[in-house]
């Protein structure tokens, strides 16, 4: 069922619209930046961008010298690399964050009679600069603007809200629409000329007139100064009023309406930093039970905590760990067992963890071992040495559940991503790339050659491109629509309807 994806669209999402914006509105504040760029024009621009010869894929290569040199972001690497992807609760909006601190929100087009296939197309809805690079003068530390995570809040009124975070600061954004404009001034004519104040004989109350839809993104709250280390996760609680933020050593609990106070609920910092043996790599709240959250560690273990039992959750309620197989132990064992992502299933019964080579599904009721283990790219086990040398072994791959929890997805190298059907135990490797897939054509499964002789259509392990990695993926909460971030490209695929 999952295998019939077709590439719905290439969207050169970040490069062009953003360049456009930054060229014209560099120093403006966020709301005005929004008003300067009505979403219609952005979407149009984006659509134009697709067939344009300046394909983003061409830019992804190493031949970036002259371009990179222009931008100050280049010092830290490319600013348009997507760093997080997240659907909202209904799936109608998709948010991406990038290294340059920008957030782009895509909206799904509604069913349209004249263009029957337009349903499911995601177009740019709003773009805004969420974080700016900062400098911590007390610690002499540069704070990157890169968006580490985006989390949507459950919808509470006509506006949409999301949390975005960089290494240190979490921000709550409101994305709202405006389609009316007030008209009629007392002191000015329609064309803006001043009236003679002596001749004002009657008062005019402004009248609201319809206008083109305008989408505004406004920062509502800033939750700062609570993390000493880098924030790796944020997660909204099912009680709709609190959320957690986790850094390398601590987890804090916030109230969504209170910015100047947070509660530390987990602190694994040893008194003596030399005794440090593990760090927190990810944390998430249970989807239904407001008192339960889990956090994973670099040692490959997961701790489940119950906030009911005590205000400080330094003692866990459950501890998930798979006993290590002594036969496969090597220098890299510890590094590759580090968990890079943990996600609860929608049902709340299972959770999934991603380590370097595999993805595991745990039943919350069984702590001793996972109920499923899927190999993502086992063929890399022999290449760990070179992956260590080029630092790829520290890549943090994320993973996600399908809406029905029946399938899971995670990324790999060479623009490959993997899907596992939990019921049929089938798995598939797909490639997100502009060259190898045409719009509305099904994606072909790819295969990596592991043995001696390479068959046709197979790719040898040695020819994999480790610079093209898919770290961030997202799955529509109800339908088989997936979003895959491949460096600076966002691909959206969906189940082929017919």
């Amino acid at each position: 069922m999952l295998l019939a994806y077709h590439e719905q669209k290439h969207q050169d999402t970040h490069v062009r619209p953003e360049r456009f914006l930054s060229k014209f509105c560099v120093s403006q504040t966020v709301p005005s930046q929004q008003s300067a760029s009505a979403p219609g024009s952005l979407a149009a621009l984006c659509r134009d961008a697709v067939p344009s010869p300046v394909a983003s894929g061409a830019r992804a290569g190493p031949a970036q010298g002259p371009l990179a040199a222009q931008s100050h972001h280049a010092v830290r690497g490319r600013s348009d690399i997507i760093s997080t992807v997240e659907f909202n609760y209904s799936g109608d909006l998709l948010a991406t964050g990038d290294k340059g601190g920008r957030v782009v929100i895509f909206q799904r087009e509604q069913e349209n009679k004249s263009r029957p296939h337009s349903r499911g197309e995601y177009n740019v809805y709003s773009t805004f600069q969420s974080h700016e690079p900062e400098f911590d003068y007390l610690k002499s530390l540069e704070i990157e603007e890169k968006i580490n995570k985006i989390r949507w809040l459950p919808q509470q009124n006509a506006a949409h809200f999301l949390l975005s975070t960089n290494d240190k600061t979490i921000k709550l954004w409101k994305i709202s629409e405006r389609d009316k404009r007030a008209e009629g001034y007392n002191l000015k004519d329609e064309d803006g000329r001043l009236r003679d104040p002596f001749r004002i004989t009657a008062l005019r109350v402004p009248i609201l007139k319809p206008m083109d839809l305008m989408v505004e993104a406004s920062p509502r709250r800033i939750f700062a100064n609570a993390h000493t280390y880098h924030i790796n996760s944020i997660s909204v609680n099912s009680d709709h009023e609190t959320y957690l933020s986790a850094d390398d050593l601590r987890i804090n609990l916030w109230h969504l309406e209170i910015t100047d106070r947070s509660f530390n609920i987990v602190d694994i910092k040893p008194v003596n930093m030399e005794e440090l043996t593990e760090v927190i790599t990810a944390a998430e709240f249970h989807p239904h039970q407001c008192n339960v959250f889990v956090y994973s560690s670099s040692k490959g273990t997961i701790r489940l905590c119950d906030m009911r039992s005590s205000a400080l959750c330094d003692r866990h309620a459950k501890f998930f760990e798979e006993p290590e197989d002594p036969s496969s132990r090597s220098f890299f064992s510890e590094i590759i067992s580090s968990i890079s992502d943990v996600k609860f299933s929608h049902s709340g019964r299972y959770m999934m963890t991603r380590d370097y080579l595999s993805v595991k599904v745990w039943d919350l009721n069984m702590e001793s071992r996972p109920v499923e283990t899927h190999q993502v790219h086992e063929y890399l086990r022999s290449k760990l040495c070179s992956l260590y040398e080029n630092d790829c072994i520290f890549d943090k791959f994320e993973c996600c559940w399908s809406g029905s929890d029946s399938a899971i997805m995670t990324g790999s190298y060479n623009n490959f991503f993997r899907m596992f059907d939990r019921n049929t135990r089938r798995d598939v490797t797909l490639e997100a790339s502009r060259e190898n897939s045409k719009p509305r054509a099904s994606l072909k499964p790819r295969k990596v050659c592991t043995g001696g002789k390479r068959k046709k259509d197979e790719i040898s392990v040695d020819s994999l491109d480790f610079n093209k990695k898919i770290l961030h993926t997202a799955w529509h909460p109800a339908e088989n629509i997936i979003a895959v971030a491949a460096t600076n490209n966002l691909y959206i695929f969906q189940d082929k309807v017919n």
Binding site: L203, P206, D239, R261, C290
Partner: protein, 721 residues
């Protein structure tokens, strides 16, 4: 910049003559849409002016529809709008037209910002009272229903607060509907709505008939109290208080107590915390009988709860609980059922629990009486005075006076004073400060208690850190004291003046004590013992101590009277006007202003004025500022005495309002932001000290705290003379 948009659009002359009734209103209306939030806010705050100018008809047909769709604005503006609309009935044509105000408030009741929503609900409740019963059912009840069945939970949460105002005035059929709506909100899918319903449950129960309370509210309460989300369950505890007040003892036992017992043992510590936090209210609501056989055991459990937060909350309530017990048999209950648990808490592992207990435990002594206090409580106090956590020690010391009343000073001095003396050299300055503040209380008993004096002397000695023989010079001063008393008083004085007290707050407290002591012992004593000591400090190499001289003089001058002030103190103050440090110089100006009223006019005219005028030409702007202040004060006094004054330089009032009439924006104007809940951060000690200083003086003058703050940050910083 802000002003440019307003007057820029029309010449200022228009405000003066011409059509002076319409122009300002026209500006106000246009500024409802100004880009500057502050201007929009101003306009909204003058909405009644606009409505008055438009008349009731146009307000209803034009202004309100416009406002209904203006909910895109900033929170501050929306908050102000919601507030304004609550008082708008008269401006739309009286109670008959009050329903016109519902649409804008309805849209405000759906915004995401809680403060705005709450304010809109508050205004709606206000307006509901102005509806006639007919209008209420025709307009208000439908609004409540619309909100209650709205798509977004923001509107449903707002609806929860409106049931109780329309229920009492509705007909029976409508009442049934309202109850039905409330029921469905109590089982809403969204926890936000269930929380809102739970928090309004008690209020709604109060307006319901008793039968409905029993048949409908109690089941709802039971459901909410066993909600899967602990954030909902904990709110049910609050509702429990109101419901319990409505029911008879029998019903209470049958309907509410099972739920309450369950809440006190809830799996979630937050719920148990809530029970502990609301314990006094619960105790009052359920009455003495249930308290005895249900709440006391529950309280014992809370006192030994596994979660420190819960224990701390319970410890806070110990005193109130004991006070509210029926007087008959109270002592036995406390001694047998509460005290054993308290004894354990004194050695709790968590310092918050201990300090919570320490803040109330002294209150028990009045309830238990002298015998029990001495036998059972004093050992606990002593243990807490030696606690490793400064907060605990501090809480005990600051409440010593209530024990004082019960067991008397003699007992107190014998048992507690040695411990207090030790504390005088505590490492935490807050503890030392508390000791100093406690001293006048002890000094009040001085005459009869030589032993005490010795102790106090030692306290002071410790505080001062050293006590050299020259400090005893004051002996032989006042006849009514024994020699040792005087020695010890010298100790007190020394402590008050101690150059070794680094923190400003302590020096300030010490100075204030000085005044109290002088009032107690008379001027002669002051002249012989204190004044010389103070004056010697004027030559101290440390400018902080030189300033202390000035502070002491401020405090002493009034008590000492004109003669001593003019003869002994004034020359020193005047001499210090030439000090190198600007802080000292402007404090001289302040001191002169302060002692001015005590001096005679000759001294004022001949000595004070020239010095002040010289300071008025100082290179430092702060010195100049305070000199000006002082000059005008002195000039005023001279004028009162009919003395011819040539140069009465009144400094111009910086606050003078030169603004356009439409924009009187004071700096302190409420922007609405203050309404958002803000919790105080725990500031570091130094910052608190600094804030204290700023709080007292900074409001008066320019930003001179730049100078002064250094003293709290650099306590040992010496200036070269």
């Amino acid at each position: 910049m802000a002003g440019a948009a307003g007057p820029g659009t029309g010449p200022g002359a228009a405000g003066g003559d011409g059509d002076d009734s319409l122009y300002p209103i026209a500006v106000l209306i246009d500024e409802l849409r100004n880009e500057d939030v502050q201007l929009r806010l101003n306009s909204i705050k003058k909405l009644s002016t606009i409505a008055l100018a438009l008349g009731v008809e146009r307000t209803r047909t034009e202004l309100l529809p416009f406002l209904t769709d203006t909910i895109y604005d900033e929170d501050e503006v929306l908050l102000a709008l919601a507030e304004q609309l609550g008082n708008f009935t008269g401006l739309v044509g009286g109670p008959d037209f009050a329903h016109c105000l519902l649409p804008p408030l309805e849209s405000l009741a759906t915004v995401e910002e809680t403060v705005v929503r709450d304010k809109a609900v508050e205004s709606l409740r206000q307006i509901s009272q102005e509806h006639t019963p007919v209008a209420l059912e025709a307009h208000f009840v439908p609004l409540v229903k619309r909100l209650a069945s709205g798509d977004w939970f923001t509107s449903r949460t707002s609806a929860c607060g409106l049931f109780s105002v329309c229920y009492p005035r509705a007909s029976n059929a409508v009442k049934a509907e309202i109850r039905q709506h409330f029921r469905s909100l109590c089982s809403d899918d969204t926890p936000m709505v269930r929380r809102a319903a739970a928090s309004k449950l008690g209020e709604f129960a109060k307006v319901l008939e008793l039968d409905s309370v029993k048949s409908e509210i109690v089941p709802l309460f039971t459901n909410l109290a066993s909600d899967e989300q602990d954030s909902v369950r904990l709110l049910a505890v609050e509702a429990c208080v109101s419901i319990a007040q409505l029911l008879s003892q029998e019903d209470l036992e049958a309907l509410v107590m099972p739920t309450l017992r369950q809440a006190a043992e809830d799996k979630s510590w937050r719920v148990r915390y809530m029970v502990a936090d609301k314990f006094s209210e619960l105790q009052k609501a359920v009455g003495p009988k249930i308290t005895l056989h249900d709440l006391i055991p529950a309280f014992q459990n809370l006192l030994k709860d596994c979660e420190a937060e819960v224990r701390a909350a319970a410890a806070h309530k110990v005193k109130e609980l004991c006070e509210n017990l029926p007087t008959e048999g109270r002592e036995t209950i406390i001694m047998n059922q509460i005290l054993p648990y308290i004894k354990e808490l004194v050695s709790d592992t968590n310092q918050h629990v201990k300090s919570a207990l320490a803040s109330v435990i002294m209150g028990l002594s009045t309830i238990l009486g002298k015998e029990n206090t001495i036998e059972h409580l004093l050992p606990l106090f002593l243990a807490q005075l030696k606690d490793e956590c400064p907060e605990v020690r501090l809480n005990i010391i600051s409440n010593l006076d209530c024990v004082n009343e019960v067991i008397g000073i003699r007992q107190l001095s014998q048992s507690l004073l040695p411990a207090i003396v030790e504390l005088a050299e505590d490492a935490k300055w807050r503890v030392r400060l508390a000791i100093i503040e406690y001293m006048p209380l002890l000094a009040g008993q001085l005459v009869s208690m030589c032993h005490m004096l010795q102790c106090i002397g030692t306290v002071c000695e410790n505080l001062a850190g050293e006590m050299t023989s020259d400090l005893f010079l004051g002996s032989g001063c006042v006849e009514c004291f024994t020699c040792s008393a005087c020695q010890n008083l010298a100790g007190i004085r020394h402590c008050a003046l101690s150059p070794l007290l680094p923190v400003y707050a302590i020096r300030e407290a010490a100075t204030n004590n000085l005044m109290k002591l002088v009032q107690k012992f008379g001027t002669e004593w002051a002249q012989n013992t204190i004044v010389p000591k103070v004056l010697v400090m004027a030559n101290d190499p440390n400018y902080l101590h030189r300033m202390t001289t000035l502070f002491c003089i401020n405090a002493l001058s009034e008590a000492c009277g004109q003669e001593i002030t003019t003869k002994q103190m004034l020359p020193i103050v005047l001499k210090m006007a030439g000090d190198q440090v600007a802080n000292v110089r402007f404090n001289v100006a302040k001191s002169l202003q302060k002692i001015g009223p005590i001096l005679d006019t000759d001294a004022l005219q001949e000595e004070v004025k020239p010095v002040l005028q010289k300071l008025g030409q100082d290179e430092d702007m702060d010195v100049k500022y305070f000199a000006q202040e002082a000059i005008s004060a002195v000039a005023q006094r001279l004028r009162k005495l009919d003395f011819p004054v040539k140069d009465s330089e009144e400094p111009s009032d910086p606050e003078a309002d030169k603004n356009h009439f439409l924009r009187p924006r004071g700096p302190g104007e409420d922007t609405g932001k203050a309404h958002r809940e803000r919790a105080a951060r725990v500031a570091p000690e130094e910052a608190v000290g600094a804030a204290r200083f700023r709080g007292t003086d900074a409001a008066k003058g320019p930003a001179y705290q730049l100078h002064v703050n250094t003293e709290t940050h650099l306590p040992n910083w010496k200036l070269q003379n």
